[in-house]
């Protein structure tokens, strides 16, 4: 065990820092869940790609740099330090990307990874249905193979980014006689096909961050099937693992929030009770622990290990931590905490984050489902 950065890793950090320093937009972009903001964020994805920073872990031929997970964590640290824009294509680069890498054909990888890197394809998730939320195996949207295409009918919901995205990926029932997690397939669907209707759902913050997608005899070419027909569940579980684990929520995000929380507290501590101080320490201690744990996991993966049900532990930890930090920030803000996220006050950013932090324990599999997974798969308790 040797937990210092090498000279090479430090040099890489400096390179990232220098590039971000001269390229991160000086004024914050509009919210990515507005039409204009979405396009601003797409433009930022294009800028990242010009610098070859879309996804540093991907092979060079797909628009990456062929770097390892430790370098990716370093990149993320610098990214959050520079206050760079949220990745509008996180569903693509962080979730579908690794899944394609594992299960995609060469043709699929070249087509989709490159378009993802350039920002031409921004991806939405298509898992949940009105009758299939936590119980994802209850999926009923069908995709029937007819010659060289699938014909899709049904409805997806809570599809993050679907309002403005170009593509969605998700699970569809390809074997109509199947039940539960058998007979599902993982299919990639362009959102501009005839028969698709996207209905934005205004979120708690008022913005259309997710949407319903209706499929009415939508024809998708068979080349858009990822992995084998009927193997969807296995592939989706891998994607969900990436989502819960280190890909979607790298530690830098929470460490940066903890740092800003401390800053906020130090300017307003005269108005706060000692209880807040205890929360500040907890925020630092937990975000630090999350970072240590992720470096531990990344090192294990580099040594040939794999990440399994352990990602459920992390998902609970970061989502509860994020909510606790934002709750604490609002307590420090006092009566300013009632201002809206649109206000010009410094509080606005915390208020937006506070609302979003309520989503953390729900998305990517509710924390209750994660606890079932931990109890059954890690502790060996009966189903």
């Amino acid at each position: 065990m040797k937990i210092n950065f090498t000279n090479e890793q430090n040099a890489f950090r400096n390179e990232v820092r220098a590039w971000l320093g001269s390229n991160v937009p000086k004024t914050p972009l509009l919210s990515l869940d507005t039409k204009e903001g979405f396009e601003q964020h797409r433009e930022w994805e294009r800028t990242l790609n010009k610098g070859n920073w879309s996804m540093v872990t991907w092979p060079k031929e797909y628009g990456g740099r062929g770097l390892d997970l430790i370098q990716w964590l370093i990149f993320e640290e610098e990214y959050y330090r520079a206050d760079a824009p949220t990745r509008v294509n996180q569903n693509g680069v962080f979730l579908l990307g690794p899944t394609l890498m594992e299960f995609g054909t060469h043709e699929q990888k070249s087509k989709f990874l490159n378009a993802m890197a350039t920002g031409d394809h921004i991806w939405a998730q298509g898992w949940s249905e009105p009758g299939a939320g936590s119980d994802m195996a209850a999926i009923r949207t069908t995709a029937v193979l007819e010659g060289d295409h699938y014909k899709i009918n049904g409805q997806k919901t809570w599809s993050s980014r679907a309002t403005y995205a170009d593509w969605t990926f998700g699970l569809f029932r390809t074997d109509l006689n199947s039940e539960r997690h058998r007979g599902l397939s993982f299919i990639l669907v362009p959102l501009d096909l005839p028969g698709i209707t996207v209905r934005p759902i205004p979120q708690l913050d008022g913005e259309p961050g997710f949407a319903e997608i209706y499929f009415d005899d939508v024809e998708v070419p068979i080349e858009n099937l990822l992995g084998g027909d009927g193997e969807g569940w296995k592939i989706a579980m891998a994607t969900a693992g990436f989502e819960r684990g280190l890909m979607l929520r790298s530690p830098a995000r929470f460490q940066q929030t903890a740092a800003k929380l401390l800053e906020l507290y130090l300017t307003k501590q005269d108005h706060c009770s000692p209880m807040i101080q205890a929360k500040i320490v907890e925020a630092w201690a937990q975000s630090e622990s999350y970072a240590l744990s992720i470096y531990h996991t990344a090192s294990k993966m580099l040594a040939g290990g794999s990440i399994g049900s352990e990602s459920s532990l992390g998902k609970i930890f970061w989502s509860e931590l994020d909510h606790m930090m934002h709750q604490t920030a609002l307590k420090i803000l006092g009566a300013s905490a009632e201002l809206s996220q649109e206000s010009q006050d410094d509080a606005a950013r915390w208020i937006k984050g506070f609302m979003f932090s309520y989503a953390g324990p729900i998305y990517a599999g509710t924390n209750e489902i994660q606890k079932n997974i931990i109890a059954e798969r890690l502790l060996g308790l009966p189903r």
């Binding site: 065990m1 040797k2 937990i3 210092n4 950065f5 090498t6 890793q9 430790i70 640290e77 959050y80 330090r81 530690p251 830098a252 460490q255 940066q256 903890a258 740092a259 401390l262 800053e263 130090l266 101080q277 205890a278 500040i280 320490v281 630092w284 201690a285 937990q286 630090e288 622990s289 999350y290 970072a291 240590l292 744990s293 470096y295 531990h296 990344a298 090192s299 294990k300 580099l302 040594a303 352990e310 532990l313 992390g314 609970i316 930890f317 209750e368 994660q370 606890k371 079932n372 931990i374 109890a375 059954e376 890690l378 502790l379 060996g380 308790l381 009966p382 189903r383």
Partner: protein, 345 residues
Amino acid sequence: MNFIFTEDQIQFKDAIKSFLTDECTPKSIREGWEAKQSFNPDRWQSLLELGVLNSNLPEAKGGLGMDQVTLALMIEEMGYAGLPEPVAEQTFLVNDLMALFPNSIRHAIEEIYDAGTKYISIAHPLAPNPLFVKDSVGLILFDNSECKFIAKNDMDFEIISSNDPSREIYKINSMENTISSSESFKELNSAISERGALMTAALLIGLAQKMLDLSSAYVRDRNQFGKPIGSFQAVKHMLADVAVRIEFAKPAVYRAAFSLSENNPKSALHCAHAKFMCSKAAELACKNSIQAHGAMGYTWEMDLHIYMRKAWSMMACWGNEDNQQDIIYKTLSSSSEELGVLYTF
């Protein structure tokens, strides 16, 4: 950057685990309680023969020159087994500080403790009641300004009752022929406080894991309403919460141990962090484990409390969660550079 253990480190951990599984059973611990002799000289001798007692002394002094990370991994296993003998104390608080003790005290220790094979007890304001004085050859005593050494025969002592019968603690009524020194006291005192926090953190993480394992086994086995209580979500979630806490406390222990091995100037913060996280994990492990056991958890008969009692002591000694919180806050508020995405390693 490589945050995984070497083969050697894993071998040492596995070796002590397998020894303790056989030699430190709940039954043997209870026998020690009944005989009021929890320090088992035979087990101490076996640990000596295994090379554990002087493992972290330099090779020139008869040891293996073991680093703090390997030692922490072994101490975690001592926590898991609820080992009564003060091996963690001897290795982490005596051996590991030998180079820092003032010359007069170091000579006195070296003369009497036979290259780490004879036990020396410790008293410090953060853990004022020395352990197993009767079984020791001497005492290292810290007060607020100096460090002292007293040979066992130069002390009058009596046992006081601990809530953990495995921890025979003493008070010292009088002493003579004391060797005292205030030389580099500040440095020495920081070093022992950091190691005390880390040592108790490592023990706590082992104890928390043991309580979780006992509870998981119990709820798989115990039936109510016609099925194992472990199939109920209320029970599952309680234990899953403990698993989450343990998972995120562990790497803090390994990082703090690594910091000590590198003489990292932030080792005090890192040790405080480890103890803070492990105290919280152990606290929840106690609460949820006893709850998962139901009324059985509240009995003397069930083995759970062997480990719970030690956890209570380890949470209290060498700086509790509140003390660690204070250390962390003082560091964070004095220099905001200590915190944030670039300062973890």
